[in-house]
Each structure stands twice: as C-alpha cells, then as structure tokens.
Amino acid sequence: MRDARIALVVDDSRVNRLVLTRQLSALGLEVLEAENGIEALDLVRAHASAIDVVLLDVIMPELDGYDTLAAMKADDATRHIPVIIVSGVEELDSVVRCIELGATDYLTKPINPRVLEARLNASLAAKRLRDLELEHIEQQRRLTETIDRQKTELSRFLSPQISALISSPEGEQLLAGHRRMITVAFCDLRGFTSFAEQADPEEMLGVLGEYHRMIGESIVRHGGTLEHFAGDGVMVFFNDPIVQEDHVERGVRMAVEMRSRFEDLGAGWRKRGYELGFGIGIAVGYATLGRIGFEGRYDYGAIGNVVILASRLSSQAAANQILLSQRAAGMVEEIVDVESVGELQIKGLSRPVSASNVRVLR
C-alpha cells in the first residue's frame, strides 16, 4: 500500500486553500488543489484510485460543492472517495444537505488543526478499510476465475455430471461411496480387434474418433455418465450422480439412437473396406458408486453385479443387437418392442440369464 495519503482541497478562496494545504502537509499528506467543482471533478476522475480524501468547500463558482459531490457519488469510479465538507459555521444547513448527498464528515472554518486531524484520520481509516475490501474482492474474483477455469478443464476430462459433482457441496459425501440403483450400458465394436491389426494407426484413430464423437453426443443428449472408455469399449451409467427417475428408459433410448446412427457410420466404413458391427448390453441393479483408484489417479466408478452383467451382455450381443437384462426389459416394456434371445450362459454367473434384444422403440 502507498505510504503518503493524498488529499484534494477544493476551495475558490486561495487563502483558504493555502491554509488547508499547509495544515494537511503538516499531517503528512500530499495535497492536490482545485479552485472550483469542475477542476475538482477533473482531478478526481483522473486520479480516482490515488485520491484518499476530498476536502470540499460548498459555495464556489463554475460548479458548487453540492453538484460536485453529487457528480462524485453518481460515478462508480469516484463514489468511494470520502468527502469532508468545509464550511462556515453559519452554513450548517448546507452541511446537512451535503451529508444527505453522501459527504462523510464536515469541518467548520476557521479550521482547528486538531479537529482537522481527527476528522481526517476517521475518513482515512474508513478509506483504508474500503481499499482493503476492494483488494479482497479482487483476490476473490481472481480465485473464482481460477476455479472456473479449473472446472472448465475438468469438464473436458471428466463426464460433465462428475465434474459438477466434484464442485458441488455434497460432492465429498457422494465421492466417499454410496449405493444406488443404476442402469449400466456397455457398448463396443464387433470386429474392432482384427480391424486394429490391419489398419494403419492413423486410419484406426480416425475411425475411433468418428465413433467416439457419435457415442459422446448420444451420451450427453440422454444425460448418461461416462464411466470410462477403453479403445472401442465404452461404459455409461444412468441415475448417478444425478438422480434420473427414468434411468432405464434413458439408457435404452440412448442405445437405440446410437444403433441408428451407427448405420450411417458403419456404411461409410464398409465402403472403405472395414467390416465393423456395433453391440450394446444394458442391465439394471444396485451398485456401489464413488471414488475408485489410488492417490494420484482416481476415477468415479460403479462396482457391482449390474456392471458385470451389462459388460457380459455387451460381449454376447451380435452386431446391431441391444441386449437387455430381464429386469431392464421388464422396466421398459411399455416403450420398446423386444424379442427374447433365450438364456445366455454368462461367465462369472452361476445361473444362465435370460436376455432380450431391442427391436424398435414404440
């Protein structure tokens, strides 16, 4: 912070300006002078952040004290500067009007140096507090700016729901782990492994990029939480961290949309000689959700049989199939036509599970 405080003395009488300037200098202030309101406003506007206090006479030519004060208080840049009215004892009515207009304090002429010092210190202390407050607000603003930037960056790396969750007040509690009914959808490409063996790396990354873009748009449109993707395999869940009453329906609608959009994508690839199919598995059930991983690298993840089931259904799905677990199919029977694919033997599960393929949305 600056050492010397700066005062602006506004008075049309040269004698009075000389006296005040001298008294203020004796108190260690640097002094600017103006002989009317116009000059005062020019100075105040040019040095709004430097002037710490204005000592203002009321009756002056050009622009009087009232109008000068009103103009200062109407301007965001100069509003905060304390103004001490300097007036004759017989002008107390005008002092009242000035206080109403926003003056901080007043002094009567002839000016007693001790009263001047006391009033000045009070005004300067208030100004100092105000400066600190402004500094604090500025720091706060920069901090918020940094946090916002971090959030934006975070949302590029994480699912938007998860980046929102991290910044939310209940974030810590949800990250610590909770159980919830979710819908899990796994999807991947049939024939991708052999394609990856044959294609140029550039070609493969190009295909993967088109595929991820398509998948990503559908996930976002239906409000899914992207848990992870590994090559062509993508896992999405619904109803967490944001609660979605219609989570099964959302998952199925997303899958149907992806399948339909894949037709164009797959046809384009076929023309380039790549035979790739698309399959999805969807299951519903309870999972434990929260922070999974280790210090240095955590993911927001889901653990439970529902995840395994959806993953296995996805690997069993033929090209263009959307396989629903029995429970999932039962929860969306009103919106889709399904066909049973019978009982599937699923690795890791002792009993076979029945599954259905989604034909069309009703």
């Binding site: 008075d11 049309d12 009488s13 040269r14 004698v15 009075n16 000389l18 006296v19 001298r22 008294q23 004796a26 006479d57 009756i59 002056m60 030519p61 004759g88 017989e90 002429k109 002839p110 000016i111 007693n112 140096p113």
Partner: protein
C-alpha cells in the same frame, strides 16, 4: 446590529493560525499578502454587481471575501461581506444592501491597514 462591537481585526485568529502551522509567522505573512492581492478583485466584483443591480453576481465574490476575511480574523469585513452574500441570495439588492456595499469600502481599507500593521509587528518581533 452588533456592528460596533465587531473588531476590524481579531489578532487572536492570526495567532491561532500561526500556531496551527507550527508557529510559522512567515507563512501567515505570505497568506495575508495573498489575501490582499485577491481581495482587490473580489471587492471590484462586488461593487460592479451592486452597480449593475445584479444580485446573482454578488453572491460568490461576497462569499469568498467573507470566507477569506474570516480565516484571517478580519471580522468586521467578513460580517459585512456576509450581509452582502445574504442580500445576493435574496435576489434583491435593497437599500440596506447598498449601504452595506458603501460601508464595505471603508471596512476593507481598515482591514487592510490593520493586517499591514500586524505584518509589520510580526516582522519586528
């Protein structure tokens, strides 16, 4: 009015003024000289306003003269200037104001003499 009781110069005001700037008599002498220079102009402006019967033009020079004179303890002149300022504000220069304006010339001469004497004494001391 309490006109006769009002002194031409209240030397105590000048002493206080000197004390308020750390006993710097030279500063007060400079101040008086500045005052004597500036007041000629204000005095002329007041006379012109009265002659032109223009109350609005009377207010500011009368106010400034009142204010500077009070600062230097020229109390009788300050009081007269104040009466003229009030007349100016009333938007009418009446007979009383004209008498005040005539008296002002004498008050001004007396104040100037008294201030010059004070400076001489101040130099001597």
């Amino acid at each position: 009015m309490n006109e006769p009781e009002t002194p031409v110069l209240d030397a105590a005001v000048l002493e206080e003024l000197a004390a308020s700037v750390g006993g710097d008599g030279e500063f007060v002498v400079d101040l008086i000289e500045t005052y004597l220079d500036d007041t000629e102009g204000q005095f002329a402006a007041i006379e012109a306003a009265v002659a032109a019967d223009d109350p609005a033009a009377l207010v500011r020079p009368a106010h400034t003269l009142k204010s500077s004179s009070a600062t230097l303890g020229a109390k009788r002149l300050a009081e007269r200037a104040r009466a003229l300022e009030i007349a100016g504000r009333s938007e009418r220069i009446d007979d009383g104001a004209r008498i005040d304006a005539e008296q002002l010339a004498q008050d001004w001469r007396e104040a100037r003499t008294a201030l010059q004497e004070w400076m001489t004494r101040s130099d001597a001391s």
